[in-house]
Symmetry: C2
Subunit: 644 residues, 2 copies
């Protein structure tokens, strides 16, 4: 069986340069559109005014129309009386200047003596307070240049200048061909729960359509094409013969056996680039058929998104006479070291929040297939091909995916993760506040370290002191010396063993972990759950080496639950809510205390105030109780203030 | 006749505060929409995943599926042979993991021995290179919080999470009632040239509709209502009874006799604010009828725009759960002193360009009725109510109306204005370049001064040295001492007297200016045209005091031509092209030289290079020739380089 590999991978810049040669001077055709419907369209030629505006002399103020000559010599000491109807006429802003009159005196300077007479105390000079013909627009004047994107007031200028129709570049049409035998159209499912094993709901075409609309193109989504060479060829031929300006064939561009796309493009036209040194996005294909650009977009959603941004977006904008706007960059400090592969440009999705004067970026999972790494990200850090990564002590630029002010309203929580933190983020917003919660899961101890370095607003911690039986306090005293902190209760929660549904292996407690038929999944060192487990193992005199899977670690409760659900492990230690979310079994072990540690200097921060208010609210407590395995009755209570 | 005055004018902040009380907690109703059509909509409730994604284990790499246990012990020195079909199965990214297999080895690590056998040199650990169930999305997980504006990849997350429909806030409906007896609908004119005296094409509703669409609302434009009290009352009643969330009644809000709006709102509901201390925008009315917000928007377009931005926009966004994004502010330096009225916040439209390290703002005309002051502006400077203006030596913040990078591409030309500068700006863009030309008209001498202060990239000048008969050089030597400049020819142009069509008063030359029946309009001191006139008057022995209108000055050729067209003057000195543009008569006097003065240090600036390239192009020269009265045959030639 023949396997393709990316023999000739190009850098992003090289790929873009090669691809742009085929379209750099290309535009869609011009079309005529009514000016009043031209919002956000782009002029294909300069636009000149047909008529002047205003087209007649009119009053620029409310007041009276007069003949200037008649007012000459008027002073404060020698006021002049004017007869209404003969010497002066009432006139309003915008009204036509009556014939024979040549000045307007504003209402505030006119004293009405009686129904028929007015007094003025200043002279008027000719043409004062009058909007003259052509004051705004003169016929033949350039109203809008070529390649100009039309804003609301541009439409006003067009209409005022008598230009009722204008020529604009047609919106580029983009054919999107989703391919993959595993894909199913969302409309084909009566209920999403009917999804069969081996099926994936096709969603890339929806994301690509949204991106195309945002860049003022017109998407046309084709039917899903299975991984059959002839079907792909036919779909591509149909798109080439259509009036599409650009074709995106999604998926089918990896180096797998289903990779017919590159071969078919080569057969019908030319493959310009196959493989780009970017991650995600490596399997991108750039080609051309009959002069029409064709992009083989990778199947993984983050790859498809980045490939679109780097290669399709500039083309789409260029086709309608626009340049891509500058990316919105900010300088961030990573909340931990971020290694990256040499020789490939990596695009890392990150949470970003402002802590003190710094923007702190916390990496999200790297999985190219994870759409939630985009939805949850505030930014993307491009790590250059020639870098091996970024250390915690460096600063680096990130491209923003949200508005600047969203960063001001991002609360950075680093520490032990808990499902109630998601609810917290939602409940804060539910109250109408525009606050986002960014949570970095580095375990309880990692959180305290981050707090010490000023990398977060607060941290979540559930560290048991095995000597005192108390949570968190002794750790804070040891690791946050010199920092005044306030510790607030968040929840008490049930910790235990997450097991398969109905507990088929009959696991009763940690003594079962040493059984030969049991595979365990652990949490990372430094996490509160790991501290708790190790403490209980020690108490029970169990040697960790006797547990199969003790060294296989995950970083969140949900990851542990997913391992159990998938059969990768028989059990793992975690919270009840994670087991319940995936409909798994649970063997309860303890009720532990999960606290929020806040530097006291941050207590004035209105976002922190909003957070405390939220966790004290009945709404939050009710939702936490529904999750199961939580006791939120003391949520938000000040546990202790430590002046280390 | 009763005249309204703004007895109780509020500051912008006060007005907003009073108005927002009636809507601050108000939202439109939620409605259900298909997720794939939800782009840019706003969630009205949090959205949770219905299914997990992926819903089955699949390969995360192209390669082979194996049983991990079978690979244990494999090393570089002890490779292992696997039989295809039994020990290993080819698998592609995204394919379902075959039953009984639990790891994937990537293609690059597999060596094919023959058609039936493969060799591996590393062991696989269980679940390596496998996308596990729920890796991206776990059923019940929070996908999007409430009040979240949906981006393309958010739609992907919704579809992947099995959420095919979501609840969003309805788009707010806005009823727009244009009022004014002088207004005519653009559709009522077969050709815009048919516009009658006293008629204005109604365009504010089009601008407001565009602004509403940009803020995700749904505009509904009512028929134009004449200034008849009952008609306005009926239109307003219809809007109040409709499903509109908000009503804008445009115009009819000045203190003129047509001002029925405030009275009618008071009669049907409550006027909260009448008159705001802002300019333009003072006559704004804010009211409420049956709980429905009603905004009386001023008739002048810039007033209407600013009133919309300050009062309607926050309401529109709030109704759909959004906060207004922060305004994009930049620090600018005015190119001249800008006085402003105390006690009122003034919004000044400005051109902004980057000269050296500074952003230079040049004020555009203040006229509230001039839509082109918006279309031509790069920014708006709000001058606070408590300030009497900004001096040339201060810095002040401006709100940007364009993208940052547009400022980098704005060429600032300050000096004498010429119609060819407009064409220049257009021709540069016609070539596909994204360069804007900002031109400040302060006369030739003012331009040289601005150049000396580093306030512009180049200046346009046509200063005649009456002793040498040469243009510009002696002035540059005197005023730009110490600055190395290059002087480029732009055009030779016909200067003369602009007179009414067919020259009814038979004006033959400057000797006629002293005639009793002739009113003249002059240019401002420091302008090249004024220098030329004064030189010719002196040559002819004419005393300026004997010319009627000598002290009435305008700042541009077109302004002079408009004065002649309007009858405000019988003639004025200016260029042929201005007379031709308005179909006026012209008495030629001379062919003068108009040059561009560029600091030699700026010659490397690619925008300057583009400008020089453009004025040397046949396209530019041809268009200039069509204007008439110009000789562009030496355009772009280096006239002289002066190392002062």
């Amino acid at each position: 069986m023949k396997r393709h590999v990316y023999l000739d991978m190009k850098s992003i810049e090289e790929a873009r340069e090669i691809f742009s040669r085929i379209w750099v001077e290309k535009k869609t055709l011009p079309e005529e559109t009514p000016s009043k419907e031209a919002l956000a369209r782009v002029t294909s030629e300069p636009v000149f005014a047909r008529i002047s505006a205003p087209s007649y002399h009119s009053a620029a103020m409310d007041g009276i129309a007069v003949r200037a000559e008649q007012t000459f010599g008027t002073t404060e000491k020698a006021p002049k009386t004017l007869r209404i109807g003969r010497d002066a006429l009432w006139i309003n802003t915008g009204q036509s200047l009556p014939s024979g009159f040549n000045a307007v005196i504003m209402i505030e300077k006119v004293h009405q003596l009686d129904d028929h007479h007015l007094e003025i105390r200043d002279p008027a000079y000719p043409w004062q307070n009058i909007r003259k013909v052509g004051e705004d627009i003169v016929a033949t004047q350039l109203l809008l240049p070529q390649n100009h994107r039309i804003r609301p007031y541009d439409m006003g200028a067009l209409i005022s200048g008598g230009v009722l129709n204008i020529r604009v570049w047609k919106k580029p049409k983009v054919a999107i061909i989703p391919s993959g035998s595993e894909l199913i159209h969302h409309g084909a499912l009566k209920r999403p729960e009917q999804l069969k094993k081996d099926q994936i709901i096709e969603s890339n075409s929806i994301i690509l359509s949204g991106l195309i609309l945002e860049n003022h193109g017109l998407p046309e989504v084709y039917d899903i094409v299975p991984d059959i060479e002839d079907d792909i060829r036919n779909a591509l031929r149909k798109a080439v013969e259509s009036d599409a300006d650009l074709i995106i064939i999604n998926a089918g561009s990896s180096a797998g056996t289903r990779d017919y796309t590159a071969e078919i493009i080569k057969e019908m036209g030319e493959v310009l680039v196959h493989g780009v040194a970017m991650m995600p996005g490596k399997p991108t294909i750039l080609g051309v058929i009959n002069g029409k650009p064709v992009v083989g977009n990778p199947g993984y959603i983050v790859s498809a998104f980045l490939s679109f941004q780097e290669f399709v977006r500039p083309l789409l904008l260029n086709l309608q006479g626009l340049s891509p706007p500058a990316r919105k960059l900010v300088t961030v400090k990573p909340s931990r070291d971020i290694p990256s592969r040499l020789g490939i440009e990596e695009f890392l999705r990150v949470n970003i929040g402002k802590v003190g004067e710094r923007l702190i970026a916390t990496p999200l999972p790297r999985a190219a297939g994870s759409v939630t790494t985009l939805t949850r990200a505030e930014g993307i850090i491009p790590i250059p091909a020639l870098s091996e990564g970024v250390s915690q002590d460096e600063e680096i630029e990130a491209e923003l995916l949200v508005d600047d002010e969203d960063l001001m309203n991002t609360l950075v929580i680093i520490g032990s993760h808990d499902i109630t933190i998601d609810i917290l983020g939602d409940e804060i917003r539910r109250g109408g506040r525009n606050i986002r919660v960014s949570s970095g899961n580095v375990g309880s101890l990692g959180g305290l370290m981050a707090l010490r370095k000023g990398l977060c607003h607060l941290s979540g911690s559930h560290l048991l002191d095995s000597e005192t039986g108390e949570y968190n306090i002794s750790y804070i005293k040891r690791y946050l010396k010199g920092i005044k902190v306030s510790v607030f209760h968040l929840v008490l929660r049930d910790q235990g063993l997450i097991v398969a549904k109905n507990n088929p292996k009959g696991i009763k407690g940690i003594n079962d972990l040493v059984r030969d038929d049991i595979t365990f999944v652990n949490r990372q060192a430094g996490s509160g759950t790991r501290v708790l487990l190790d403490y209980r193992l020690e108490q029970s005199g169990i040697n960790p080496d006797s547990i199969r899977g003790y060294n296989h670690v995950e970083f969140t409760h949900m990851a542990v639950a997913v391992d159990v659900l998938s059969g990768a492990a028989d059990c793992g230690m975690g919270i009840f809510a994670a087991a319940k979310a995936l409909d798994l079994g649970f063997v309860s072990m303890e009720r532990e205390q999960y606290d929020l540690v806040v530097p006291s200097s941050m207590l004035d921060n209105p976002n922190i105030q909003a957070l405390l208010e939220t966790i004290r609210s009945p709404g939050f407590r009710k939702r936490v109780e529904i999750l199961g395995g939580y006791d939120p009755s003391r949520s938000g209570q000040l546990c202790i203030e430590l002046t280390n």
